[in-house]
Symmetry: C2
Subunit: 375 residues, 2 copies
């Protein structure tokens, strides 16, 4: 089926670009000598995770237990749940960890170590537990220079029900950067935080089996990951308008788009209305720190070949996008019914809006993928 | 089941508040002498639409064909699709219009009139078509003072395949108001735009069977709707932090909340982390024009009785909320595992994030509702 015949709004995944992005990151991980454990929260689609691993169900990172269960059910049995374990979900997490090859759980508190140990079956498999380190994002994780990290690590290592898995960090603050030079500084900080805490732990007799890091911006610029064992980028498989603005990719690398239709033309106020609103694109404001006028996504023709540079998505309501046309709306331009593709600001959030991903190649829908949902 | 035992994050609908909000709007519509056609886009749950009508499948407004089909399948047969008809969806819309009692389609262009007429079955039922009027929101609709409106209306009325249904408007710009006085001015504009165009059409021999308006802010303050036949509020059934800020309701009227768990405590930086991120709350920035420091939702205890006024949701990532604690995080306050409820900034967008609504009363889950999704 030609994708141009799909009802709008709908989500399109450009397979050529997706495969190229996947192959590039696989090659990069290989060259840098690190295990690639892509974060599947970006798409939540098992078929895409297989493409990320060149066709096999390789190691993955998940953001929810719902993802972990659904991916495990279709053969992904080497998992890491990269969220500080919530109290009350330890029993479910441990039960899943016993059912797969490996599910690493993440903690940044002594309490969470206790919950996992208490949920582990006596005499059962040791549950792998990693320590979350804050490398500067100031969201979750222990201070790599503080005393809490070594104390928690020792507690994990001492408990016979647990397996000490090592350190994990995520440079979320890379998204505040304005270009590659700033991202490289954050990447240095990301790796530095891991290595510094690992060195302290090593001196205390507790070597780290794994040192895991990753965000798409820091990884696409990484040239030296000595000491690091694993990377967990997610967004790179799609990329998006944000990543292009901060220099992680070219806009023509973006593999995810929302197909939409012009449903309103208002020449008097130089405006169009599209049928892709906040429920089709998400309300992510985009890279305003780089481009204050960026709007809610980048508008392209249906081939994703030409950017409609005059069109700025000024506002989103639930099912409408309000588009400003710079320089005015000439007669005959963008007639009602025109199809456009929007490269979203934030691919992860936009993808989560949609019940189906349409994989497209050479103008045709070649597969329909259903993402996991919920928690 | 006590809702406190639910895995988090999850969506809770407080039934007492929902029923009170529904009853108040029903009473208001009755008193003002207008038909209530609630916009179900807010929840997309047939059970809630029945509560809005006091137990019956009354008239509803939908934002998508998916909603129209799903609600029609469970007995809602008097529908209005309040989106300017997208080219390419006319055949589906007309087919549904022939299968239900009444489905009003909306246009703001002569082209869309032509698509509907072309899709109508020769000799089949006349398809009701309403004209969308722009009352100042400058999103969709014709200028009520311009020539385009009467031309489109005449074209609808002349076509034997179509039924002229009247005028419809929506004061979306009410959301930019800072309080009741400004909202009342917008409400006056909303009704005035309809009445003015209806008067012009009447003088031209084309009376309007229906004059339909509505947004939650303008309707909760409406005292006089003379001439109007129908109202289409949606958000009022839940309300949210935004509506409370602009004076549509009290914060204690809000019926929708997201139950979450404290998964991180960082006293050194006076911060908490909650397991409700952008995929559980949406990224709606909230009423920043009224309260620049509002954050991404209002945090409450589990009973929704006490607002945690010191907690500000400063940032959301996909599955984390980063909370600033004003005045510092005292030892023992908000321990890991604490359950909290967040009244979202924008109930419609937050509700759409969740695969299930948990209806709760007296601390227990009394029903699980599955919303419609997609387009």
């Amino acid at each position: 089926m030609p994708f141009a015949d799909l009802p709008t709004p709908c989500l399109l995944v450009d397979l050529d670009r997706l495969e190229a992005n996947a192959a590039a990151m696989r090659a990069r991980a290989l060259r840098l000598g690190v295990r690639l454990r892509p974060h599947v929260k970006t798409h939540k689609v098992p078929e895409i995770a297989r493409i990320q691993h060149g066709g096999v169900a390789g190691p993955i990172t998940v953001s929810t237990l719902a993802e972990a269960r659904a991916f495990a059910a279709v053969g992904f049995v080497d998992l890491c749940w990269a969220l500080p374990l919530p109290a009350g979900r330890a029993a479910e997490a441990v039960a899943l960890a016993e059912a797969v090859d490996r599910l690493v759980l993440l903690v940044d508190s002594p309490e969470a170590v206790g919950w996992i140990a208490a949920a582990a079956r006596p005499g059962g498999r040791r549950i792998p537990v990693a320590l979350k380190v804050d490398c500067g994002g100031r969201r979750a994780g222990v201070d790599p220079a503080g005393d809490e990290g070594p104390a928690i690590a020792a507690r994990i290592a001492e408990d016979p029900r647990l397996e000490w898995a090592g350190l994990l960090t995520h440079a979320g603050h890379a998204y505040a950067c304005r270009g590659p030079a700033e991202v490289e500084a954050v990447a240095c900080q990301e790796r530095g935080a891991l290595l510094a805490l690992a060195a302290r732990l090593g001196r205390a007799g507790l070597p780290c089996p794994d040192l895991s890091l990753g965000s798409t911006p820091t990884l696409v610029h990484a040239e030296d990951l000595a000491g690091v064992t694993e990377v967990r980028p997610g967004n790179y498989v799609f990329f998006d308008a944000f990543q292009a603005a901060v220099g992680s990719c070219r806009i023509e690398d973006c593999a995810l788009s929302v197909l939409c239709t012009v449903i309103g033309r208002h020449p008097a106020r130089a405006a169009l209305v599209l049928d892709a609103g906040a429920l089709a694109l998400s309300l992510d404001p985009g890279p305003r720190h780089v481009d204050p006028g960026c709007g809610f996504g980048a508008v392209f023709d249906t081939a994703l070949a030409e950017r409609c540079g005059a069109l700025r998505i000024a506002a989103l309501s639930q099912e409408h996008a309000r588009v400003e046309v710079r320089g005015g709306l000439p007669p005959g331009a963008f007639p009602l019914g025109t199809r456009l593709r929007i490269v979203p600001n934030h691919a992860c959030l936009a993808a989560a809006c949609h019940p189906v991903h349409h994989a497209v190649r050479a103008g045709r829908v070649v597969a329909r993928w259903v993402p996991v949902r919920g928690w």
